[in-house]
């Protein structure tokens, strides 16, 4: 994939990231931060790639460390976000009512 295509996609991702979040209610700031935090745990894909290409023991060891760290970020992030949001379960107001409030 060429540089310009990646740049194009990057620019669009910036816009999407900005726009999607710009209306969030302050109640959700913490779960949103935590959820976004989980998403960047996807660096795990990169860590796996590097570990899968490692040929030398040191490199493999460091790459596996990266895998452990990235997994902790990814798994822990989604779990902790789910726990936060679980607390709100069953407490949803009538649909719509909550969307308006902020």
């Amino acid at each position: 994939m060429g540089g310009v295509e990646v740049l194009t996609i990057l620019v669009f991702a910036v816009f999407v990231g900005f726009e999607v979040v710009s209306k969030v209610s302050s109640i959700l700031h913490t779960p949103l931060m935590s959820g976004a935090n989980a998403i960047h745990g996807i660096i795990l894909v990169g860590a796996i790639t590097v570990a899968g290409q490692a040929e030398d023991g040191w490199v493999l060891a460091l790459a596996l460390l990266a895998v452990v760290l990235a997994t902790a970020n990814l798994v822990g992030g989604f779990v902790v976000t789910d726990r936060m949001l679980e607390m709100f379960r069953g407490r949803r107001p009538a649909p719509g009512a909550k969307e308006d409030a902020r």
């Binding site: 999407v16 990231g17 959700l28 960047h40 996807i42 796996i48 460390l65 997994t71 970020n73």
Partner: protein
């Protein structure tokens, strides 16, 4: 070390990564809407699962058993911690997870450096250097925020005379090292850069007061996103670019929104301490006369009211008094009194703190009122019971231009017929400013730890 042949051709790989990216967008979208937040998070996890399956099926990977073992270890460490952590310790856990993500990105970049050999790979090396530096800052910065929040170190801003100079020197050295790594591709130099990044991360977060830390976590979260995006450029993996950029962009906005909800700017939070403008809470204690009260008096006031509005704040969270507060509300309601909780968006030390806290204590959702709904109701309230809150009810926000909280919307408890404060002393809150309301004739103070006071008041109410 056997290499398995990839099962997926590049087109399918790209399509699956695209699906994962869409999942991440939908996750952020869901998380921004109260109705779909939990589902949004699950969609994000689904995206991650798709991406993981894809990477195993699409690349020629060696060491697969090792990798699987490492994943198992990571998950086995993180999941139970995430399951068991107390609600009040959420912020430091998020900081921790954010930090390890940054660290992973930095490691990935370091290990890719030797493969970015060709001279036309200047761009790749630039991306490597960026990932290394930003990932390291995020890792070390998050570690310090963790230490602050976990109270492993002082939560007050740490500044010393040469700090700005030292910070400048470290940044200059890091820039020089970064340039050298781009030019030479030297791995030892990259390790030096990594070390400088770690140092910069520590220095960046030290001067931030403990109460501002959630905003710093959000900022470092955006940093990690950017590092991951750059690592995607290094590895030629579009999903990493997209996911990292999404987090970087949304994290930046979120950081600004969080700061704005407290009426502050991000720059002020990060560097305010240097200018002596820290709002970490002064501990000056005033000696002007106040009307202090006993649990029994407060119980009478509450027990014979028609409408009570409880205003929870940071002190309630610290004292872990949410269950007692919920019980007190229940006891009052059993007496036919109308009880509501007024939730200020920045009450406590993380956004949504009070909602989470009271939801945990099973306060029914209908009793939780947001600031905009409840402000008009104080007029009809007989008693406003302020439990461990201070800044969020401070009229200086409306009346005193120049005050650090001037302009912040507040809960207008002064409109209620009587105001009762539950706090331990006359010390001010987070913003470090006096609250005139404490000296108001219609205000009574019940000194003591919020949970203890609530328990005593609850007992007295039951005895009425």
């Amino acid at each position: 070390m056997t290499a398995s042949a990839p099962l997926l051709d590049p087109t399918w790989t790209a399509l699956l990564y695209l699906a994962a990216a869409v999942c991440f967008i939908l996750a952020l979208k869901g998380l921004s809407s109260p109705k779909h937040a939990r589902r949004g998070n699950l969609v994000g996890a689904l995206g991650a699962a798709i991406a993981l399956v894809t990477v195993f099926l699409s690349s020629r990977l060696a060491n697969i058993p090792w990798i699987l073992a490492a994943i198992a270890v990571g998950a086995a460490i993180a999941a139970p911690v995430a399951r068991r952590v107390k609600m009040t310790q959420m912020p430091q856990l998020v900081a921790l997870f954010n930090g390890v993500g940054g660290g992973a990105a930095a490691l990935v970049a370091l290990l890719e450096l030797p493969h970015a050999g060709a001279p036309e790979d200047g761009w790749v090396r630039l991306a490597i250097v960026f990932t290394l530096l930003v990932g390291a800052v995020s890792f070390a910065g998050s570690a310090v925020t963790f230490a602050k929040l976990q109270e492993l170190m002082t939560t007050r801003p740490v500044t010393f005379l040469g700090l700005p100079v030292l910070m400048g020197a470290v940044l200059l050295a890091a820039l020089a090292a970064a340039g050298a790594v781009v030019a030479t591709g030297s791995v030892p130099l990259a390790v030096v850069l990594l070390a400088l990044g770690l140092l910069a991360g520590v220095l960046l977060v030290l001067p931030v007061g403990g109460a501002d830390v959630p905003i710093v976590i959000s900022l470092l979260n955006a940093f990690t996103g950017l590092a991951v995006a750059a690592s995607g450029l290094v590895l030629g993996n579009v999903l990493l670019v997209v996911a990292g950029t999404l987090v970087g962009a949304s994290g930046t906005i979120l950081t600004r929104l969080m700061a704005a909800a407290m009426g502050r700017s991000v720059v002020h939070i990060m560097f305010g301490a240097f200018r002596g403008g820290s709002t970490a809470g002064s501990t000056a204690v005033s000696d002007r006369p106040v009307r202090s009260s006993s649990p029994e008096d407060v119980a009478v006031l509450l027990g014979y009211a028609q409408k009570v509005i409880i205003v929870p704040g940071y002190g309630l969270a610290v004292a872990q008094g949410q269950h007692t507060a919920a019980e007190l509300a229940g006891a009052l309601e059993a007496r036919g009194i109308d009880v509501e909780f007024a939730i200020h968006p920045v009450a406590g030390r993380m956004p949504g703190h009070m909602n989470v806290l009271l939801a945990e204590a099973n306060v029914p959702y209908e009793s939780l009122k947001e600031m905009s709904e409840v402000n008009s109701e104080f007029r009809q309230a007989d008693v406003a019971l302020v439990v461990g809150a201070n800044d969020v009810v401070n009229p200086a926000a409306k009346s005193t231009p120049g005050s650090p909280i001037y302009g912040m919307p507040i809960l207008e408890v002064a409109e209620a017929k009587q105001v009762v404060f539950l706090k331990r002393s006359m010390r001010p809150g987070f913003a470090g400013i006096e609250n005139e309301l404490l000296y108001d004739p219609k205000t009574a103070l019940l000194f003591g730890d919020a949970k203890d006071s609530l328990t005593q008041v609850l007992g007295a109410v039951k005895a009425l």
